[in-house]
Symmetry: C2
Subunit: 366 residues, 2 copies
């Protein structure tokens, strides 16, 4: 059986020969293993075994209270009752979509946005359109993935003026490099904001713990949808995260993570400026990646194949837009996962692949 393109990319990305600058995964170096292990033991020691048992669809109350407290600190007027624990941010976006939109309807999205949200919208038969349109919209407030910037103040104002329901994805809200965050849409328009957050970037994604806050009038229906979909989020993961948050200094952890990722961003930026001076990017305000504009239009698939031949991988830019642009090639380079000592080498490999791809493209054009 011949391997599909996806299988080949997967194999290559998993190969130790390839420096993986794609994927958007957090650094495993920073997973708080020892603290999570302590939490695991504490929750497993509780006599009623609740961490291994079925729980309520909305999630564990102690965890919902901890999430509410952090949202309140950012200006939102919420209580534990407003928070629904989900399987990461994706599940939260998915439930909000189920609440808001039906097959055939349109949803406004930013010029660049999170690919898995676009995939979700398309899978549900929705049409992603530009932000000024759509029956509802999906935006990343504090930090756009991949652009690495906060939601523009004017865009924010016009969104609020339009009055449509907003799915606010704040997955990277805790990981802006300076610790400052845009004001939450949840605070400004609680009656029509569907707020999405997650511990996937700040603790670890494998636990799949995120949250959803919906306008109060829709809370009951959101819980019904969660229950219909998969009954509830993982009890053990909820108990572990809740225990972790009560015992660890989470704010200090966030400071460490912000410095950690900013240093990596700087190293990656330096490598790109040196090896690929024709590539342009804005230094990000946080998050896991650089969003690159190039000056040539080459086939993404061809460039990916050449990059894998050279021993590096990246994320093709077209995945991040609702309607792939006709302009020059764009791409996402992640500094979060790979070891920083591989950045130079990885980017050099990309530079070789880029030289081959653009040479070929020029050749084709003649």
């Amino acid at each position: 059986m011949s391997a599909t393109w996806e299988q080949r990319v997967r194999r290559a990305a998993a190969s130790s020969r390839v420096i993986n600058l794609g994927g958007g995964l957090p650094s495993a170096v920073q997973f708080p293993r020892a603290a999570l292990a302590s939490s695991f033991f504490r929750v497993l020691g509780v006599s009623d075994g609740f961490a291994l048992q079925y729980g309520w669809a909305e999630g564990q109350e102690s965890l919902r209270a901890l999430v509410a407290r952090r949202l309140i600190a950012r200006g939102a007027r919420v209580t534990a009752d407003d928070v629904i624990i989900t399987n990461g941010a994706q599940d939260a976006i998915s439930i909000a979509t189920q609440l808001l939109l039906r097959r055939g309807q349109s949803i406004g999205v930013e010029a660049t946005t999170y690919p898995a949200a676009l995939d979700l919208f398309r899978e549900r038969g929705l049409r992603p359109v530009s932000l000024g349109q759509g029956r509802a919209c999906y935006v990343m407030t504090s930090l756009n993935n991949p652009a690495g910037t906060a939601l523009d103040a004017e865009v924010r104002a016009s969104l609020l003026a339009r009055g449509v329901p907003i799915i606010e994805d704040d997955a990277y809200g805790d990981l802006t490099f300076d610790g400052k965050t845009a004001p939450l849409l949840l605070s400004a328009a609680p009656g029509r904001t569907y707020h999405v957050g997650t511990f996937s970037k700040t603790l670890c994604p494998g636990l799949r713990v995120g949250w959803l806050v919906v306008p109060r009038a829709y809370r009951k229906r959101a819980v019904t949808i969660k229950e219909a979909n998969d009954l509830q989020a993982n009890s053990l993961a909820q108990a572990v995260v809740s225990d972790y948050l009560r015992h660890a200094d989470f704010e200090q952890r966030l400071d460490v993570l912000r410095r950690f990722y900013r240093r990596r961003a700087a190293l990656m930026a330096r490598a790109v400026r040196r090896e690929l001076p024709s590539w342009r990017f804005r230094f990000p305000d946080g998050g896991f990646c650089l969003w690159i504009d190039t000056d040539a239009r080459v086939s993404e698939r061809r460039f990916s194949e050449l990059a894998l031949e050279e021993g590096a991988s990246f994320d093709a830019g077209s995945a991040f837009t609702a309607s792939p642009a006709q302009g020059p090639t764009r791409l996402r380079l992640c500094f979060s996962l790979a070891a920083p000592e591989t950045f130079e080498r990885g980017v050099r490999r990309l530079a070789r692949a880029w030289a081959r791809a653009t040479r070929a493209a020029r050749h084709v054009r003649r």
Copy 2:
């Protein structure tokens, strides 16, 4: 703020004053805590931190291979590639439903069936109809919840003859008391069976690890749906279950569980025969509950309230049918969760509540 009916039931069921004979939860006494803790430590010790990281939408390969092996042992012709790891059985039923049916369509279900599946179908805008009808059907093969019996051979034959897609929920397949199981529909009709299984009843539900096998032609789309819904099942839970299955004697565990629950079933049956001789039931072939037919028609809500007053809870029968019957009251009594030494007392409380409810009902009729 006055508490809703649901809130009052929840509070009462959680109260130590109430003997909870509802809910269908497995016994926490049997959760393999020590073995799961060992597995947790082993998977957390693996250097790449994969148990805390993002994984593929279809789930971890080692776990998929272990599930496939158990299905092969029951006559299914599957490979690890056919298995998709889900957040318990509910997520698997949900994905199968997304694959098969659109809003407004109908799905055939058994005369009594799993309430959360009915809730899911209704939430998706589907009409549950009787098993001989519908564009697809949902059945529990080895053991019907709540009836405690295998799928009738004639019903099975007519299902196979009809040729519609079948969602086969085998959540209790490993927990028939004699260890014998009905032949899988997945083996008989792999081209149109959507097979659902779970470790929720045999290990613990809090890990939310189940699986879905779909006909090969639909496998890719099923993975796309899983990814759109919530990216993937919990990495840590998958790694823990996979490690557990490789280190523990799971078949021996199942033998222990079968004996454990059969003994509880016998104790519950004896208590009901003694305290409520007018209630009829068939001794179940496995699972967690007795399915009770009474000889009077009383308001379920009223009976529930009286039972809570007396200090016991149960599951109202109407939740288990697509169209609640007009006949005598039915109910589900679970012997899985409560301590067996409370069975007599709990059933006596139900008997008192039943006497009050039926007295009131007769009074109303006059």
